[in-house]
């Protein structure tokens, strides 16, 4: 882990050393860098540095500490939903949506939650259904669920047919998932990831088969559908905070704290910008483009 071990530079400290060297080279000599450095992107570069610093310093300070995390109703409902599915003798369905591949941070955050769900379902002896639109996501999910079952001491629960790539077509994916839901009647449906037009079709089908729905997405348009159609919804950054909340890992929670610090900085910038704007001082607004 970054900054965790003091003896030798670890794998994870290498990229930031490279970044520091890169920034150290380009920033002091603006004239020399004029040919190859995109100077108009300096505000973005400053934002990247501030974000990275806030997250990494928070992670560093988080070592060995315990943080209070505001209870998230959607996350607290996960165990209840799994318990309900188990009592009904029904499987659990987990969907990451049609909108994202494995390169998308939302999908990564969702797979981290899937890891927790897999361990819990292993403890309950409940199977997970994971139809995917992306073969790479399906492959990562297979491994995640397999390891979750192994960690829960129930590796025999894993069935490769239940965790599979179905199709890349958006509405074909919606139809396939609807069909699986109608036939297998899951007791709980998790809709966590990047969803697009298929979001409401999936959420309403889940409601029609009587499943508890826990949702969360990075699309504000689909979020409004989830809010009215689902039992619990993780709003905005709650989806990303959920992985830290569930893992209880102080380093991951440290990163969540870093996000909160950045939020305070953004609110301060907005307030300063508003006051300067009212005073007809436009330098600040111009700097942000």
């Amino acid at each position: 882990m970054i900054l965790r071990h003091g003896k030798m530079p670890q794998v994870s400290s290498v990229p930031f050393a490279l970044l520091l060297i890169f920034f150290a080279l380009i920033l002091p000599s603006e004239a020399a860098a004029a040919d190859w450095y995109a100077a108009e992107r300096t505000p973005e570069l400053a934002a990247v540095i501030i974000c990275a610093a806030a997250v990494l310093v928070s992670v560093y300070l988080a070592r060995g500490r315990r943080f209070y995390v505001r209870p998230l109703p959607g996350v607290q409902a996960i165990d209840d939903a799994l318990g309900r599915a188990t009592e009904m003798g029904a499987p659990v369905m987990y969907l990451t949506g049609w909108g994202g591949d494995l390169a998308r941070p939302t999908t990564m955050a969702s797979l981290t939650i899937l890891s927790h769900v897999a361990r819990r379902t292993a403890a309950f002896g409940t199977p997970i259904l994971f139809p995917s639109h992306d073969p790479v996501v399906a492959s990562a999910a297979q491994d995640t669920i397999q390891q979750g079952y192994a960690a829960g001491k129930r590796p025999e629960l894993y069935n490769s047919s239940d965790v599979a790539f179905v199709t890349q077509s958006q509405l074909g994916y919606a139809a396939a998932v609807d069909g699986i839901m109608s036939r297998r009647k899951p007791g709980a449906v998790f809709l966590l990831g990047s969803f697009e037009g298929e979001a409401l079709i999936l959420a309403e089908t889940a409601h029609n088969v009587g499943a508890v729905q826990i949702s969360g997405t990075d699309s504000t348009i689909q979020l409004s559908f989830f809010l009215v159609a689902c039992d619990y919804t993780l709003i905005g950054e709650e989806l990303f905070a959920a992985s830290g909340y569930l893992s209880g890992d102080p380093l991951i929670l440290g990163a969540v704290r870093g996000q909160d610090i950045l939020k305070i900085i953004i609110v301060a910038v907005l307030l300063i910008g508003t006051v300067l704007g009212l005073l007809q001082i436009h330098v600040f607004a111009e700097w942000f483009g």
């Binding site: 990229p15 492959s139 491994d143 995640t144 036939r183 809010l227 991951i252």
Partner: protein, 208 residues
């Protein structure tokens, strides 16, 4: 060591992809293009694995008794038919492949999409029941917006369309931007965790 290599590759690629955004030189742009090409190649390979998995899963389903058997047969028939039509007569305009796509797949997709209209109505019915104060605000805002979007709203009062514009441009946009800022920060923090090797979900271990 086996676990450290992919983490290191990911870290180096992550730093490169972040750094290339700020660099306008030719060699870096070329390297970026090459990386994008490689991503396509890797995706196509993964897609082949996915298709093989679909075929083996459907063959397994055929051997099992139950309704899944018939769906599996239709799926396998569809895959085989499109492969034969595609390789036999090509995929150009007027080919049997495109005819099947236009006259079978496209109408089926449209049918699934049309479900959305009914689902919007049923979700709205459930969501707009004023069970508590927040729901009441939602119902009120929805009623105003609906009224302002039809001619009768203007007849009732000229303030109705103006109120709709205000609702859509001020409180709705403010809430949307607040959510977007949270999502953006979450994504940034996740990306930093991936580059730093704290988040290893892409290795298939759920971040462990």
């Amino acid at each position: 060591m086996l676990r450290k290599i992919p983490v290191m590759v990911c870290a180096v690629c992550g730093v490169f992809m972040a750094a290339q955004y700020f660099i306008v030189s030719g060699p870096v742009s070329q390297l970026y293009g090459t990386v994008l090409d490689w991503m396509q190649i890797i995706f196509v390979c993964a897609l082949l694995v996915g298709i093989l998995h679909v075929i083996t899963r459907q063959i397994k389903n055929i051997s099992r008794p139950g309704p899944e058997r018939w769906y599996a047969m239709i799926a396998l028939f569809g895959i085989a038919l499109m492969v034969v039509l595609g390789f036999g007569w090509g995929i150009s305009r007027g080919s049997p492949f495109l005819w099947v796509f236009d006259h079978v797949q496209a109408p089926m997709q449209t049918t699934v999409f049309s479900l959305l209209a009914f689902y919007v109505a049923s979700a709205a019915y459930r969501g707009f029941r004023a069970r508590h104060a927040e729901s009441a605000v939602l119902v009120l805002a929805a009623l105003i917006v609906l009224l302002g979007r039809v001619p009768v709203g203007e007849i009732i009062s000229p303030y109705v369309p103006q109120t709709v514009s205000w609702v859509l441009n001020v409180p709705a946009v403010a809430a949307k931007r607040a959510i977007l800022i949270g999502i953006g920060l979450g994504m940034t923090a996740t990306a930093i965790k991936v580059i730093a090797g704290m988040e290893r979900t892409y290795l298939g271990s759920g971040g462990r």
